[in-house]
């Protein structure tokens, strides 16, 4: 397991040697044994810096890191274990396959540089790991002859060969084609499961994060915004940033009118909305109601009095689904309908209804009075 406490990395601001900015701002995180944890966030959020600090490639400026209860960095004691002495394996975004070696040479390297390793043993072990990633047939190829996907697997084999306690993955899928990316993601995850190795994965792609993780940690501006299972993070984010980052793009403002156990009714410009409470709320709280595009339904005829009237303003046909922009009142809603639904045309009159349980509530970032004013206006 990995444990980070109040881990920070500050760096001098450009052109100013005294003032310092946080790249990573006192984050604390426990990665349980054998779990696959993803650091997710936009570029510059500090996720890669965090990973590099765990690796020992970047020296933190504050806090503590321990791997398997052994402290590898502590600001208070000045203790710092350099990268090469930590029990880690790492896969880089560029793969960093050494072009002057064969595939086997690359994979055997972590063993060969260990003092007292027998060459034959190292080779045997490296072949085993190559077998694991399905590349044993290419062992004697010069490394530069490989395709992107193969290089990625060599990088994984090299990271695993010395049986590290922790596997660190720095956007290892981002240089692959879309199709290959999914396939490699599945393989990566299955190898990780089989070995039961504690893994930290860094990505800016919410799709990868959802597909692969046991736990997603959303980061922004050097801080952890939210953490949770992929399901929680996608369907009931507690934070507006997370919701936005996960691609929920319809936001309706409203005020909580009634609360009935776990569900609340919200008064909104579009009419009353019912949604499960993700966070603790009281009557009168200003809230944002998030609606995933795929949890909205379009109908040609008015189903009931709660449906909102809208006009189709744009249609984007994408094969397995079709995206619509629907003007409802002052607001444009994004709606995604999957194959088999009725197709609408531009300027069609439609009726929009949220699917049951499709709406979720997040406490509004706006000052309450503004929302009330907007509502009564």
């Amino acid at each position: 397991m990995i444990s980070l406490s109040a881990l920070s990395k500050r760096f001098p601001t450009k052109g100013n040697s005294i003032e310092r900015e946080f790249a990573v701002d006192e984050i604390s995180l426990d990665v349980p044994e054998g779990q696959f944890v993803t650091l997710l966030g936009p570029s510059g959020c500090g996720k890669t810096t965090t990973l590099r600090m765990i690796a020992g490639l970047e020296r933190p400026t504050g806090g503590r890191i321990s791997i398997d209860d052994e402290t590898v960095y502590s600001q208070s004691s000045g203790h710092f274990v350099p990268a090469h002495a930590r029990p880690i394996g790492m896969v880089f975004q560029s793969y960093a396959i050494w072009p002057h070696m064969t595939v086997l040479g690359n994979v055997a390297y972590p063993l060969m540089i260990r003092r007292g390793t027998k060459k034959a043993h190292a080779k045997e072990k490296a072949m085993e790991v190559l077998e694991l990633v399905g590349l044993s047939a290419l062992a004697d190829r010069p490394a530069p002859d490989l395709s992107g996907g193969q290089q990625q697997r060599v990088a994984l084999a090299r990271a695993l060969v010395r049986e590290p306690r922790v596997l660190l993955l720095d956007e290892p899928l981002s240089n692959l084609d879309a199709g290959l990316r999914d396939q490699m993601g599945v393989q990566l995850r299955s190898v990780q499961r089989r070995l039961g190795i504690t893994t930290v994965f860094v990505t800016h792609d919410q799709g990868e994060a959802l597909a692969m993780s046991d736990l997603i940690v959303v980061m922004r501006d050097g801080k952890i915004v939210e953490r949770g299972t992929p399901r929680d993070i996608y369907s009931s984010p507690k934070d507006a940033f997370t919701a936005g980052f996960m691609g929920v793009c319809n936001i309706v403002q409203g005020i909580v009118e009634t609360i009935d156990r776990a569900a609340a009714t919200v008064g909104s410009p579009l009419g009353p909305l019912s949604a499960p409470c993700g966070v603790e709320l009281r009557t009168g709280d200003a809230v944002d109601v998030y609606l995933h595009p795929e949890s909205l339904k379009l109908r040609a005829t008015r189903p009931d009095s709660t449906a909102w009237r809208g006009v189709v303003k744009a249609v984007v046909y994408r094969g397995e689904h079709t995206d619509y922009a629907v003007q409802t009142g002052q607001q444009t809603m994004k709606v995604r309908l999957y194959r088999g639904s009725h197709l609408f045309e531009i300027e069609d009159e439609v009726w929009v209804t949220p699917l049951d349980g499709g709406a979720l509530l997040v406490r509004s970032e706006l000052v309450e009075t503004n929302v009330s004013a907007a509502l009564t206006a």
Binding site: F11, E21, A23, P42, S43, G44, C45, G46, T48, T49, R52, A55, G56, L57, E58, R59, G78, F80, P82, A83, H84, R86, I88, G89, M90, F92, Q93, S94, Y95, A96, W98, P99, H100, Y109, P110, I113, R114, R158, A159, R162, L168, D221, G222, F241, G244, F245, G247, C249, N250, I251, Q253, P269, G329, Q330, Q331, T332, K334, A374, L375, A377
Partner: protein, 604 residues
Amino acid sequence: MTRLRGAARQPSQTPATGPPALARAPSDHRGLKRISARSIALIAAALVVAYLAVVPVVTMLYASLRTTFLSSATSSWTLDHVLDTARDPRFGDLVATSARYSAASAALATTLGFCLAWLVARTDCPWKPLIWAASLFPLILPGILGTMAWTLLLSPDAGALNKLFRVIGLPTFDIYTVTGMVLVEATHLAPLAFLMGLATFTGLDSSMEEASRMSGAKPFKVFSSVTLPLVRPGIISAGFLMFVLAISTFEVPQLIGVPGGNHVFVTKIFSATKEFPPDYGTIGAIGLYVLIIATAGLLVSQYFVRKSRAQTITGKGFRPTTVPLGRWRLLGRSVAAVFFIVTAVLPMLMLLWSSVTDGYRSPSIDALSHLTFDNYRRIFETPSLLVSARNSVLAALISALIVTAVSTVVAFITVKTKTQGRGVLDFLAMVPIAVPSIIIGVGILFWYLVIPLPIHLYGTLTILVIAYVTVSMPYSMQYMVAGMNQIHQDMEDASSTSGGSWGKTIWKIYLPLLRPALLASALWAIMLTFREVSGIILLYTNDNQVLAVTVYNLWSNGNSYPLVAALGVLMTLLLVCLLLLMHRISRGQGLSIYPTDSKGPMRK
């Protein structure tokens, strides 16, 4: 009406205030607690560079500012040497000759070089390979041999070309004039100017010219209103660099200028060291003047390099369109041929001819019956020549090894670490390019005469190696910095996270990946060492002669031209082999043979 917040909110609208740059920054394992192998290596390299770059210059400056130097008499600070040197009535002549010679050589070489570059880069001129071949020639034929060949061709009475002129009724040409110096120096510099011109023209996006043509401009108008203004900074920069190179050379002024009574700064320094007792103050003072001029010239050149880059950099991947020469093709062909003949064929033929004559004879039908290979045999029978050949090889190999090792570490510091002061180190490593090599020679000479070392370095190979390493440092740095830049930071990090210590990473990852750059740097250093005369001309004695110096001495004694020529031919052959080897290496690795990036022999 109700007010709603922007519905289509995207995560990308969130301002990313974090530092993306830091995430990819070089790793930083400052082991404060213990002194690692890494820090020892880095500190040692930094000290070596600082020592090599600073010591010669400072010593020379010190000598020029002290009442006495290297004497038991009490010494104090003074400006007398500097002022007296300038007050000397002959100083005006010296300045005028130096200026005329350097400026004219630079102007001629730059004009010639850029015209040829335009022909090669922007026209369908035939016989481009000839121009290319000629541009490599200064690497093959050391300046001292080229200069000798030209005096054999154009000395007023016995010169082979002058004899030919007399036969066909043309006026003869006296090479021992400033004009002669300029012509010979220009043939040495033009190929370099050509390479710089080539970089300028290929860096110029032809779409800029096309845009002008689409706006209705005629070809000449396009050239004068778009092309010329865009390449002008490149031309000026090359011109100033040529000026600096011309004012720093030793070979042409010494072999052609001095016999005709035309002294320049460098020859003045040289002759002053031959006086007894040497006037260290005056030598230092003249050195100071050259240093100031060379540095100023180089700074101006750099200024225009930056300007030129700002104007022409357009990203790679475009293909310059070529101008059809049409009925001017014949002219283009002739220019290519003449350039090749003048810079390469004539001097080389002259050298070959002289090497097979028994006692020097001008080329003629009669002389054909006296041809002999005796000179080549004599080389192998003369112990002193064999010793200096052995010295040359030894010094070249050792210097190449040292300079490459040091610049590898320095390039590692400047490219791969965030160590404080790496900018200063980078600057120091480039200092020797601004210091004329004769001044490096003076500085080294003075310094090793002053410092109380247990062993006497004067007259040893060691002192030559020190000079060679200093002179070749900037070039070696170019290769190693380029090589380091090609290696992604992840290559090192992947080794660290695989359990590789710093030493293992250097040994198993960096060195193998840098191999092409290392070989290119070493080969360049070897070639430079074989050619270098001015940096070591003050440092040799009978005990540490090397080939280039032996050639100079035999020539100055004036009684064994054929032997010198034979020696020169062998040296040239050796350099051809080295160049071919280097060509093979650089070809596969995308490195250029000259240690230039795109705008001349300097990096910044």
